[in-house]
Amino acid sequence: MKRPAELSPRLEDALARWEGSTSRRDFLKTSGIFVLGFSGVGGIGVAGLGRDGSGGPGEANPYPDPDFLQLDSWLVVHEDGTATFYVGKTDGGQGTGTAMRQMMCDELDLAYDRATLVMGRTDMTVDQGGSGGSDAIERDALPARRVAAEARRVLLELASERFQVPVDDLTVSEGVISVASDPARTATYGELIGGRRFDVALTGRNVNETTGLASVKPMQELKIVGRSVPRYDIPAKVDGSLEWAVDVKLPGMVHARNVRPPFAGARLVSLDESSVRGIPGFIRVFREGNYVAVVCEREEQAIQAAESLAVEWEKPETAPFPPSEDLFDYMRGATPVGAGTGSSPRPREEGDPDAALADAATVVEAAYDIPFQGHTAIGPAHAVADPSDGQMTVYTNDMKPYSHRTGIAEFLGMPPEQVRVIWMEGPQLYGRTAADDAGFEAAYLARELGRPLRMQWMRHEETAWDTKGPAFAIDLRGGLDEAGNAVALDYRARIANYAHVGYNQADTVLIAQLMGIRPERPAPGGGRGPDEMYHIPNRRDETRAVRFPLAFETPLRTGNLRDPNGPQTAFAGESFIDEMAAAANADPVEFRLRLLRGTTEDDATFRRARSIAVVEAAAEAYGWDARPSPRAPGDGRTLTGRGISYAYRIQTTVATIAEVEVDRETGRVWVRRMVCAHDCGLVINPDGLENTIQGNLLHGISRTLFEEIRFDGEKVTSVDWRTHPTLTHRDAPEQIDIVIVNGDPNPDRPDLPHYGAGEPSHRTVPAAVANAIHDATGVRMRRIPLRPERVLEELAAAGI
């Protein structure tokens, strides 16, 4: 028994608005963009049609790009006066969609509940790149605001013509325009343009610059921005009605599972298809190079076939990588990528760090180690691909649907116009779905088989083979003068980041690597030191990449993991600043403020001033008692302490204080309380911002205390939630206080920009926790993660 495929509530809503429009046909005929309609094939039934409205299944190029220089591509006003917005972003659960809708409603002067927002469909929304870098609010919201403001301007002109009064004599409120001098004369947006095209060209050299003639409103006039509007996506996630990418079902759809090499770098010698032919529903085994997948009629059959397939693999002659116990020694001892070729990056230097260290009254040295960490998404990678009529439609939670589309088109050798990618909700994103392997696999297998196909990875596969955040080995030296002032800082890092995968590249996704495809120029895998505004006159900052014998077809493939490199570099940097403060017998907050105030030079965004503001705000909210760390550990079983960490990310500044309890018998660390002071400029939705910061902080605790991808000399051994522990309910803090500092130190500036908040607070967590443990115990934890057994070891070594 099968239920007819259903549309997601959001698409259903968008479609209903079209179905209800009497002028829809006219709109379709003249539309310069796309239209919606029920396709003859496929259950999902949302088909993008051609520019002339005549396109559809079977057309040669049915999926062109919406033109960002047409107002109609961004915004449609319906006859009932409601509006639909179209943005080229995706939402990982941080409320990006709700915030975008708030901003666009504000600029258009429309009530929030009179608009809907469509995101991340390559055939319907302009290419804003999808998600990444926490840039939706900081960068992509600006053109969205400007086009909504432009629509309002055009509507005022239409009203001006209708009423034969100048625009200055008109007022707008919630989608209704009135004549100021004769308020009885009104027209709704629906009456003025409902169901028809604006036909207004925009300008801009690229999508980020898109603008009309109108200006956005000054922040003082924004009414919906700044309010905690409930997220529109939450009710359907709570009542079970949302259609996720995992839920897509198409007529005739089959199920696929991958069979991964059991050893990194293994070569497939042979496989025996007869081992699975007897499984009910078995359809086919696919093999190309070292890529192997099975396809069956039903999902559980495909799982069984993948487990049962007899494959002979040959181990590589050279060990692919060292075992994880030897990782940091290996990294420190390895020759860096590009060494001796003249192409290696030069260290960034200020002053003369070596001379300053030689002259320093006190020199502090420390080494920090951070292992590979995975995304280990709660739901393994998945996608559905539909090859009907020689086209390709991919339903996915890929956060960058546009590069997913071009990457898949290139991989399959299809023109991009014949491929479309439809983003739907999925398990987190955080960089994992910027190179979504499952979509490529589903599209490849679906085309080979000629049937719609659903791919999903298994747990062991996701934990072992997803993209990893790179491991770091970081050595620091610092110099203090007689008065305890920091005079030198020497930061040298090794990063295991060679051949870092790009965004949905046809030559770096896993299926391509296993098929033997190699990028022409693998990413060398660089990095840089911590982002802070400390004034230290003599500094060096050097990051060198290292590689393992196996660079491709490896489960230690690095990719972007939430706040790429931020938590690792800030762990070392902010732990070390604490070590210098302790050597100077200074309070950690006071020591940081002294370094931040060490210069009067300022930057355009007042980042230094805003850095000082968050450090002070965090200390005040926590009730920080100024004293040097550590405190004298008591005699009890539980030791408590507090630590601070500060960083900026792009333009957002953050300071976080962690208060920990350390159980000296079990080694368990509990972060009982967190205070986070955060400045990301203009706040769009305070509650959404708070939820996002809370997620960042807890994800940070998880990476600090638990997460590590482990491996022996031939394979990853972290394969599930037992071998790869994560934060659980019992580890959640008892109290989290978030202080939204956001203010503008420059009262003369006309506007306060909105900066990103999806990642900055994440990077402050590891050092805040490690500094708190030091405060509690006097023991300095320099290797992530801080699992109980390692804490016990360190406590024992220190005699605590």
Binding site: D113, P230, Y232, D233, D239, Q694, L698, W721
Partner: protein
């Protein structure tokens, strides 16, 4: 293949499937439910949770032939469009981020509160511990469990704010946390 009878959300279904098939795939692929989702297939994360006679079980590990009681999925929690107090608390606290795991969080909380209507903070931590969230919404989940417990003590059977997402006025209803 053989005939298997399943009772889900008050309806009886007769199915022709391999009795060893995990309940999860029957619920999702044969019956079209979206609440339970695949997370690990090992009973470790809770994403696939359903209630069986009010107890939270892992549908990824349970053969359909052994799903003998009354199964309730996330969809079955709300009756006649009225949300369960636990679901309403999830909306009021604006709990989910991506939301993929929240099926398991909500149903684990429902089973916990039915068993222990007034749990202490420690009992909430212990009772919810097996439900993993990789967006780490634990802090809000625990607040939502407390809120649901209070609402149930005050006699709430269901929701009055199910239209939270639509917003009431120009600025929309604001979150009241």
């Amino acid at each position: 293949m053989s005939e298997v009878t399943l009772r889900v959300n008050g309806e009886t279904h007769a199915l022709d499937v391999d009795p060893a098939t995990p309940l999860l795939y029957v619920l999702r692929n044969d019956l079209g439910f979206r609440g339970p989702r695949f997370g690990c297939g090992l009973g470790q994360c809770g994403t696939c949770t359903v209630l069986m006679d009010g107890r939270a079980i892992r549908s990824c590990m349970r053969p359909v032939s052994r799903a003998e009681g009354e199964i309730t999925t996330l969809e079955g929690l709300s009756a006649d469009g009225e949300l369960d107090p636990v679901q309403q608390a999830w909306i009021d606290e604006q709990v989910p981020q991506c939301g993929y795991c929240q099926n398991g969080q909500i149903l684990t909380a429902k089973a916990l509160l039915d068993r222990n209507p007034d749990p202490s903070d420690e009992e909430i931590r212990q009772g919810m511990n097996g439900a993993l969230c990789r967006c780490m919404t634990y802090y809000r989940i625990q607040s939502a469990v407390r809120r649901a417990s209070e609402a149930m003590a005050n006699g709430a059977s269901g929701a009055n704010g199910a239209d939270a997402a639509s917003g009431a006025g120009g600025a929309g209803r604001e979150v009241d946390r």
